[in-house]
Symmetry: none
Subunit: 212 residues, 4 copies
């Protein structure tokens, strides 16, 4: 209801987005099984019935939230302009971007964790996500090929593998911060630590390719 006109919303796109935003929060806060449809509806301007109208089921809603989260990174990647840089500089810049994205978006990390807890069951149903991150692999592949050709890189590691190691370090630091922080009595959210780790991850990736 629009309070001014007293009429209903009638803006499907806004309604959809409102539901997605609410669902995002609830899923991030409580996981898939832990999230409550009622709670999502309560965070929304519409009613519970609409969730089903638009997304069929709780799981359908989760898939939509997940796709939305993945598509957001994708939209940011083209921003990176690596063409004018040396292979080493390009690789460092890409690693930095990946590091920052994870550190700045713990919600994304959590959603991915949740999806893995559920065996990737939802992603498997999505055609959208299939076409995703391929871009990153191509980017990385170009850098590595160039680095090898120019002699800057000594080891021709496969792009997917480099991407995996890079993501692993960025992801773990955020996703496992509660258990890791607890066990080793470290606060991984501290800014100084973040800067140090960023440097470290960049070093690790670079040295993997350049070390003799």
């Amino acid at each position: 209801m629009d309070l001014a006109t007293g009429k209903r919303t009638l803006d499907p796109e806004r309604t959809r987005e409102g539901i997605l935003a609410a669902a995002h929060e609830e899923f991030v806060a409580h996981g898939l099984s832990g999230a409550r449809v009622d709670a999502i509806a309560d965070r929304t301007a519409t009613t519970k019935r609409m969730l089903y109208y638009y997304f069929t089921s709780k799981e359908g809603l989760f898939l939509a939230v997940l796709e939305r989260a993945y598509s957001r990174i994708r939209s940011l990647e083209p921003t990176l302009d690596l063409s004018g840089l040396s292979p080493a500089a390009a690789l460092r810049k890409l690693t930095d971007f990946t590091f920052d994205y994870h550190a700045d978006n713990p919600d994304f990390v959590r959603l991915v964790q949740i999806e893995n807890i559920h065996f990737g069951r939802h992603l498997r149903m999505s055609d959208a996500v299939g076409r995703l991150n391929v871009t990153v692999i191509e980017l990385l592949g170009d850098i590595i090929a160039r680095g090898c050709r120019e002699g800057a890189f000594r080891h021709a590691v496969a792009a997917v593998d480099v991407h995996m190691l890079m993501s692993a370090m960025c992801f773990y630091r955020v996703g496992n911060r509660h258990t890791f922080g607890q066990i080793f009595a470290v606060d991984l959210d501290r800014p100084e630590l973040r800067a140090a780790h960023k440097q470290l991850v960049g070093d690790a990736v670079l040295r993997l390719l350049t070390a003799d």
Copy 2:
């Protein structure tokens, strides 16, 4: 109840362990919120009532399962005899062990993911876990110190940080195998890939310390 004799068990330790084993399976399969107390009881020789008798609540049971999982790695670590090896060889051996442990124990990885989804809330209540993994850090610290002293390592990275990067790569490969496998159309469980990755992770860790 022993189904054969119709008599009661009266062996608290066995009853406890039976419940823990059943709960482990259910939590690993469905997460904390997704797990059903009824389902756990069904996997057990006792009744649902006993779960509460011994563990007070579903969450109490989860904590017990988690502590049990953590204490299992710890009991394996002393097995490693690194004293006679060169710093580089010792580091490689430790990395290999970590890699294998994660690859062989996806259950452990899942439990830790679940705990992180729940903000480490349960671990925070455990005094047991606090005294854990310190051993690994000491082990690592010794290796690094020795390597630096002997000139084998050029970079004196902090032991906790090395441990984090090492764990990250080992953990991610297992924990995120569903989403990663989906998006990049890779089957991370294939033996050849496992061997290649093991080598790669070892290289990455070593080069981080040795590269010029």
Copy 3:
């Protein structure tokens, strides 16, 4: 569900009232802790689920029952027309009304006892009840003021205190009838006794104000 037509009710007000009536009976019969939600549902045209839909919890339901009981007396008080009577007659009439209300509504007495057993915890959460019985105090205050002015009353006792003593006698006779009856081998429900006590309570209140 309407058992005859098999159709749903869709008359929230009737559903609510049906639940309240059933809950009233169960709480009166067994107290708050002793009452069973299942038993309440069984006395109802709806299901247990609806009790929670409308009243959130067993305690929420109890509060609603309590408020309903209080609001019923209030609605009866304006019925009394004391304006034309002498102070003494007015006081006697008010006492008689109070006496009869308690004697005729042991359910109300029980609900109040139950609430006191629970430390008035529910009433404290009610804004509705706060605005209640003030009317009685005003009524009483007027009578007393008039009686003092006209010389009929010698003692200017505070209205709240008169109300307390009056209520006490009317309440105790009903609320403690089981223990009192047992100990002194008296059946307080006998009509003759009721009449005698009504007279007595009226005398006690009047003499408190008029005696020299």
Copy 4:
């Protein structure tokens, strides 16, 4: 277990009393249905099994607690020496005692309320309580008879009825203090109010008998 000797208690009477004291507290705090056998056992030096050993059931335990509470007042009554006083003074003293006993023993008031909520079901099973409070009635009867004979009292009200009114006022003030206090925004526990009410109740009782 006696911590010093490491031996078991073996003092049945102490064990019994310990259980009764614990049960008293729990019943007073939560009512009969609300009380938890486990909670009672926890307040005790013995185990839950002993409660059943000594008192057969939760209800048996409640009855024992109730009888214990009643027998305590009885043991105090003989303390009062009314023989040398004038009828009026004796009546005032008895009323004062009754008032103070209730005000000082809200636990007793609560237990009686609880028993009434349960329709006096337990007291009915007790032979002990039958022989109780008769003493009070005899005391009162003597005072009234004397007062009438000596011309101090004008109204020959039955002793049981006087006792009822007297108890009512004393009991209500304590037993209904939560609801009454809530509705009329009064704190009945305040010392000044207590003193005022004590005077008032004494006046009410006396005037009932003496007024012309």
